[in-house]
Symmetry: C2
Subunit: 429 residues, 2 copies
């Protein structure tokens, strides 16, 4: 070997592993909710609501016609029958968006369109198809042969939403349905959480940048790009710090810079636990508060979390699979919790295991897989695992869940129920 020399044995060989839920709880206890800003509704898609919104007015805001037809006073129809037509003089025509200057009195009616405001006096709308019409002396008349009940085809004020009713809860991600609600109630400036800024860097002498040609013994830095996507999908703002070689002083300087300018720092090691573990050493320095540096899970047992200068620092494994799992279990919940999301963790489903899974382990294993729905049942199919899954980068793209294999299991036969964690947005289709 060339001009490279350091002791490859590091403190990581003396780590105490914590359970995944305990690791998550240690992080959760230290997460603080981020700052709030206001954005216009047009820019609010994908942002997280920072305040609970109550209805500033009822909806509908006025008595709304549910039909194209005629607004009448229902008591005028009490004697109407197939033998006895009741006639109404048409005194107005009310399209959507207009109001009538006229009050409906007994014997009169107004033509009204769906969605228009029912005129004063009227208490029912009768659909056009139920009427006959005639013109007499330049006046338009309609006839009815049925008794119409009060309130027919009128949506009363506040039927959908009462004034003051809770519309949207703080921590909700704003998507199409939320946009619709906010627009309906005139909330043009939306209070949202600032996206947590997440510094991403990779450590490892073996790492080449994505536009560098390959060199013997080296691989390109793919984890930084993968993490960038994951941060975006979690609602954070990724800040790319590139990769740094195995030098503690450089790493420390980069880390200082990243901690200063960001809310969260995520590092990903070289290719595995075998790397010279700079981050592992840094978090043992006395000014850093280590939360955990080993978790009872595969892949990603060497995942580390620490607090430095009041900010959360995650040192994820450099294995692509382990990095992916570590992000989903620890970093994404942090990004969501900083935005008051009531459900920061991956959604848990049960599913039928489609193919036998034979690998056993003394730690809980999070196996990437994909789900299929057939006949109302959820099936989970483990990703093809020709080689150890933690290093298989290629199957990440085909996965939409993590199958949880408990440590006591001696593999799981096909057909058995398994617990799965649904990856946040699955296939975006």
């Amino acid at each position: 070997m060339n001009s490279h020399s350091h002791d490859m044995t590091t403190a990581k060989f003396n780590r105490t592993a914590v359970q995944v839920p305990d690791a998550q709880a240690k992080i959760a206890a230290r997460v603080t909710v981020g700052s709030i800003e206001k954005v216009h509704l047009e820019s609010a898609h994908g942002r997280t609501l920072a305040e609970t919104i109550q209805a500033p007015h009822p909806y509908p805001f006025f008595r709304r016609s549910g039909m194209d037809g005629f607004a009448i006073i229902s008591t005028d129809t009490i004697d109407a029958s197939s033998d006895h037509q009741v006639w109404f003089r048409v005194i107005d025509e009310i399209p959507c968006g207009y109001t009538s200057d006229h009050t409906i009195v007994s014997g009169t009616t107004a033509r009204i369109m769906t969605g228009a405001q029912v005129p004063e006096g009227a208490d029912a709308v009768v659909m056009m198809e139920m009427t006959e019409s005639k013109v007499e002396n330049g006046e338009q008349w309609i006839a009815l042969k049925r008794h119409i009940l009060s309130g027919a085809n009128i949506t009363p004020i506040g039927l959908e939403v009462q004034e003051g009713q809770q519309l949207l809860e703080a921590g909700t991600i704003i998507r199409a349905g939320e946009q619709s609600v906010l627009a309906t109630f005139g909330i043009a400036e939306v209070p949202v959480f600032q996206r947590p800024k997440v510094a991403i860097f990779a450590t490892g002498t073996e790492l080449l940048d994505v536009d560098e040609p390959l060199q013997p013994g080296r691989i390109r830095n793919s984890n930084s790009y993968m993490l960038r996507s994951l941060v975006v999908e979690a609602g954070g703002e990724p800040v790319m710090y590139g990769s740094i070689a195995d030098d503690v002083n450089t790493a420390r300087a980069k880390l200082e810079e990243a901690i200063q300018d960001n809310d969260i720092v995520v590092t990903t090691g070289g290719v595995s636990v075998g790397d010279y573990d700079i981050m592992g050493e840094l978090v043992l320095e006395e000014h850093v508060e280590m939360l955990f540096n080993k978790v009872t899970m595969r892949p990603g047992s060497v995942t580390t979390a620490a607090i430095y200068k009041d900010k959360l620092l995650f040192a994820l494994s450099g294995n692509p699979g382990a990095c992916f799992v570590g992000f989903g279990l620890f970093v994404r919940p942090t990004i969501r919790s900083m935005q008051a999301d009531a459900h920061p963790y991956m959604e848990e489903w049960t599913a039928i295991l489609e193919e036998e899974y034979t690998k056993v382990n003394n730690f809980t294993r999070f196996v990437r897989g994909r789900t299929e729905i057939r006949n109302g049942m959820v099936y989970a199919i483990p990703a093809a695992a020709r080689v150890d899954e933690s290093s298989v980068m290629i199957t990440i793209k085909d996965s939409d869940c993590l199958i949880v294999v408990p440590p006591e299991k001696k593999g799981i036969p096909a057909g058995e129920q398994v617990r799965i964690l649904k990856l946040p947005s699955g296939h975006v289709r």
Copy 2:
């Protein structure tokens, strides 16, 4: 009524309804794939790949050590046993990212880290924990008591991916897993489809903008904002044209402008079929090729699609619920197909209906609902429907599927299997 007067009876009362799949086919026949551009990997998240990508090199690119340990020649261990230690002189130390200048010959070994390139001559890696070590005359030695098989703990070149193997198909949305693949193979400039530009405007005299105070008989334009979110999630670029009142000439001018500058035009009516239907009239003009102007579905039966100046024009219902369904069935597939997505339509599942659905209709009904997974079964719960669902804006946000109620059904009892269409990204959690 005030200064407003036109014939409220329009051509829409003489429409021929087509089935949903036929309507979709009519559109699909007219969709053309969009233009391609190259973006850097950092900007590629959420974009759609425009070319199928083959592996430019095998992966791993070199014989990779799967363990922290020692690289040896396996035949040296043939006689090793618990009674017979075999000793190796350590001639190098190979961290990740480095290569060795030495060739391993019989009786020698190199210390090697996980992920590092296995040195010439060696054909196996033995894990560190299986070795004993000593230092003699300043030289380091290790001993083995076991026969090691050739190939042990070495990931051969190309095990994950062979050179030339297909990595990613054109039409794939680029997310974390795809980013990882692209970075690994050095594809820094990614060929993606240009996002289709989608003009959005709303028609209806009753519409107020989101920051206007309420007025009697009027409602705020919520559909434009809802559509904006849906276009973003579908991978299009929304362009907001606001709302226009019920004036055919203004509408025509706006439409001309929108058609000129965009790839798709989506309009949404006022609040219902009852509106004065400008778009319905425009698509009947002779320079416009109408594809359909009525669909056998609820809500949204008045949905219209047309070709104008070689571009697709969609006139969706102004009902929030109908607008939402119309977008999902017709507009989103268009945006996806313009980017060569092999699965442009909503994913179809079967589910157990959780609550009885009693409403009947002569058209197929797409009922908004949400899914729950319990014990490996998918349950679909119709959205609370106090009022007619097509006008219920408030439940859109709580929906992650459309429950398909066929026209011949006399409602569906709880517990029965139903077909559901999964809304693209469901709850983003």
